[in-house]
Amino acid sequence: MTAPAQGVLRSWLEQMILIRLAEDKVMEIYMQGLVPGTVHLCQGQEAASVGAIGALTADDWLLCTYRGHHHALARGMGLEAFFAEIMGRDSGACGGMGGSSYVIDASLGMIGSPAIIGAGIPVATGAGMTARLRGEDRIAMCFFGDGACNIGAFHEALNMAQLWRSQVVFCIENNQYGEYTPFRDSTALPPEAPIAHRATAYGMAHTVVDGQDAVAVHEVVAQARASAVAGDGPTLIEARTYRYRGHSRTDPGAYRPPGELDAWRQRDPIGILAERIGAAGEVEDIRERLQQEVDDAAARAATGPWPTLEQARGYVFAD
């Protein structure tokens, strides 16, 4: 795989900063009472999404989860549609029907982000089958968490994906916890083995990558994408990362050992990429510029109209 050009890396850096700022903004407007329900934030996980999505083409499909803000923004969703969705407005990406858990844009290939753990894994496998059956140069990219690797849907989908050589790439964003439980407390594995090791049960390719390093993530996803398209089957990628915030809005993260968060912050994905491309000095400028965009978009989004029950009714069934 050829490494991404400097300009591309620069755009990733901007994207990651944008995601960070947008997530912080979501917190802020949440505290202002503008966000109904709860939110699952992804500060700290920016590299896993930006690096992975950077390896995709416009035709590829994405399957995300309730913790999917970074995927939406990395894939290019406009900020106003993003915030408006989270605020439940008609002008949101999903007309206000999805909310924080379901911020997708089908025109960008984002085909779903269910709230039910594991539910997306078979769905992505099915999309990958469409690509395979049609012989298209296209994959389905499936993101999910470490906790999702213990539910039945994971097993059923990975078996069929491998059996049928679905053009899917599975990416575990291992952020160390499923809600308040460290993954090793819920996930039986051989001593020291990564979760990605589970792929061997199906004879599936797998790899572990530093999820804080966008370039490293990009590389393994690009490779996995090529294998999938070549008919060599899916890959189970484990990107090791961390969520700076608690699981959801109400979680202060008290279950974390002291120092853990700080240690991970030392390996902040934005800092790592900035360093790598020699742009550390520019981060603050970029932040400032993007902060303005974020603030403006959120403010505009907050003026969006509410959806009506009639509109909602119209979304249930296709004609």
């Binding site: 499909w61 997708i104 769905v123 469409t130 849907a153 059923e156 989908a157 069929m160 249930v316």
Partner: protein, 338 residues
């Protein structure tokens, strides 16, 4: 027991007399011929032609890219079907016995019907889930449920149930052509029952439309699946007693065709539900409740002929005592006439 076709109406033009099972197979075949995006997923349905022979020859005809033998993983392959549907295909999944549906409830009841809505209408999920249910085969507690009403509370799913070979053909064709998820139930004990079937791309059942399979003026019987046949048998018997029964094959449990039922009941003033299921939480109670809340005036309280509240055993006398018979339906009709 009357012979399979005895109580069927005279065959319409262009009808072939075929089994219910063959009607399912031909619906799949014709749908696959009409639309190359239609494909099938299920256990042992490809090379072996299906445990109920509803896919015999389709693997040979359409190939490995259209007919898939799946692992035993119902939730997984129904979720896969959803992913295929979101990306332009039109999959049909076969759930061998209705009792296996619970293993796939997340995909069928929680994902399929809500997926499009959450996206604000950006996506659609034209998946058909087929399941064979029902008792009479002495299969016991975990392989005899009709399952027909299990999804009623999961708004967003449409649910059909085939009460005749024509229904088996037309409902399945309609489901496959429909742009939303549909679950189509058939009844195992009807698989070898024959009836006239008119095939063709213009023979799709209308979504949400019940079928008056026997017009009558005295009492309305609303039935599904095997109970349609038993109701027709009861009607024949009652005709000899001078009671003219109208039998409605409800055909769609979601949405319920209350217009057809209400119109019939407005004429007859009397209602019997014939259902191979428990009453609470079923489509029969939905009909009765909807009539009650709409203030329909009945000449007598409605009667539901349902399964008694026991589980099904494989022991023949018990199964026979549980599944409503033509005799029980006839008695119910007499009782609302009394």
């Amino acid at each position: 027991m009357s012979s399979p076709t005895e109580s069927s109406p005279p065959s319409p033009a262009g009808a072939e007399v075929i089994t219910y099972r063959e009607a399912i197979r031909l619906a799949l075949d014709d749908a696959m011929a009409a639309d190359e995006t239609v494909l099938l997923l299920g256990e042992d349905i490809a090379k072996a032609g299906g445990p109920f022979k509803t896919t015999v020859g389709l693997y040979e005809k359409y190939g490995a890219g259209r007919v898939f033998d799946t692992p035993i993983a119902e939730n997984g392959f129904c979720g896969i079907a959803l992913g295929m549907a979101l990306t332009g295909l039109r999959p049909v999944t076969e759930i061998m016995f209705s009792d296996f549906l619970p293993t796939a409830f997340d995909a069928i009841a929680m994902e399929l019907p809500r997926w499009r809505f959450m996206s604000g209408g950006q996506t659609s999920a034209p998946v058909t889930v087929r399941a064979s249910g029902g008792g009479g085969g002495r299969f016991g507690a975990q392989t005899s449920s009709t399952g027909e009403s299990w999804f009623l509370q999961f708004y967003g799913l449409k649910v059909a149930a085939a009460g005749s070979p024509q229904g088996a053909y037309g409902l399945l064709r309609a489901a496959i052509a429909h742009n939303n998820p549909v679950v189509v139930f058939d009844h195992k004990a009807m698989h070898l029952r024959k009836g006239p079937v008119v095939r063709g791309d213009d023979q799709l059942a209308e979504v949400g439309k019940a079928v008056v399979v026997r017009p009558g003026s005295d009492v309305t019987v609303v039935a599904s699946l095997l109970m349609v046949h038993r109701s027709l048998e009861a009607a024949e018997e009652l005709a000899e007693e001078g009671i003219d029964v109208e039998v409605i094959d409800v055909s769609w449990l979601r949405p319920l065709d209350m217009a057809t039922v209400a119109e019939s009941v407005a004429r007859t003033g009397r209602l019997v539900i014939a259902e191979e299921q428990y009453h609470d939480g079923g489509w029969g109670s939905a009909i009765i409740s909807r009539l009650a809340t709409s203030g329909s005036a009945l000449a007598a309280p409605p009667v539901a002929v349902s399964m008694p509240e026991v589980l099904i055993s494989h022991s023949p006398p018990l199964e026979d005592a549980m599944i409503p018979s033509a005799a029980r339906i006839a008695d119910a009709v007499r009782s609302v006439r009394a």
